[in-house]
Amino acid sequence: MTSDHWILIAILAIAAFSIRVVGLLAGDKIRASRHAWMLDEIPGLIVVSLIAASLAGQPLTTWVAAAIALCVAHLSHHVIATMVVGVFAYASLSWLAL
């Protein structure tokens, strides 16, 4: 492992932990402020953005699989069922598209 590898790991580790600590410190201040409502909004917004970022630029089959997963999530409220059906739908649609 070269020095570049070590530096990359070190910077990533320091950055990752620092960002988490900033969140911890900022979280306490936000809770005591009039901006506390953000704590309720942020989780859903980040998850939705993660979904969007993973779907952007993907083929139609991925979007269809996501729609199927959304239906399962809506009906079942179950993470495991959504993952299993979603992955199966994605794999099946990808295989059919070949």
Partner: protein
């Protein structure tokens, strides 16, 4: 703690496959197995590590790769901030441990379960986080061991497992009609940012901030109308 540790297992199995694939990739660009394990334990941010290693492999620019990876982690400011109520009353040592072992999956599962039951607290977060960081570290190290041949895991739906999991979590975080417009704005902005060619990290940060702005606007409009 056991509740969280068991509840996270389905997501941990998905993370294990993804971690194994990441280990293979990292090994191909010169990381030894112990280096991959060290990175996973010290950084514990899967998507951030993957972006950084991919950037490092393509550009060999250490600082650029590290910054790209770190940028993906900016969302943890919001993620950890949203945990302040969950972590309230714990010692600083436990808080620092908890935020280090917190990842997308166990955070979202904790928040999702907490929305349904207030009994879900720090022990659930820590139990699920310990499983996630252990599974992530072991699976990435195993992937690096396997080394050379990178199978086309995407064809088997590996990458989509996380998307499906996030969709299920979003369902748990849905707060009714008041969530609709901010979520649509966040989704749309994230899509546009990615389509413009920016790293997905910026899309996640940009989407979340835009959704917050939309929510703030709705709240202000509602107050004015009232």
């Amino acid at each position: 703690m056991k509740h969280g540790a068991f509840a996270i297992l389905p997501l941990a199995s998905g993370a294990a496959l993804y971690g194994f694939a990441f280990g293979l990739l990292a090994a191909q660009v010169g990381f030894p197995w112990w280096g991959v394990g060290l990175m996973s334990a010290a950084v514990h941010a899967g998507s951030s590590q993957i972006v950084a290693v991919e950037q490092f492999a393509n550009t060999s620019a250490v600082l650029g790769a590290a910054l790209a990876g770190a940028a993906l982690n900016l969302r943890y400011i919001g993620i950890v901030a949203s945990l302040s109520e969950v972590l309230d009353g714990l010692s600083w040592r436990i808080k620092l441990l908890a935020i280090h072992i917190t990842g997308d999956e166990n955070w979202a599962l904790t928040m999702s379960e907490r929305a349904r039951s207030r009994d879900i607290g720090p022990s659930f977060l820590i139990g699920s986080g310990l499983v996630m960081i252990s599974v992530w570290t072991v699976s990435t190290t195993a992937g690096a061991f396997a080394g050379a041949v990178l199978p086309d895991l995407e064809r088997f739906g590996l990458g989509f497992a996380f998307t499906a999991a996030f969709i299920a979590m979003a369902r748990g975080l849905w707060r009714g009609r008041s969530s609709a417009l901010p979520w649509i704005v966040a989704f749309g902005v994230a899509i546009v940012v990615v389509q413009l060619g920016a790293p997905k990290a910026y899309a996640v940060v940009g989407g979340a901030l835009s959704g917050l702005l939309a929510s703030h606007t709705i709240r202000r409009t509602g107050k004015v109308a009232a």
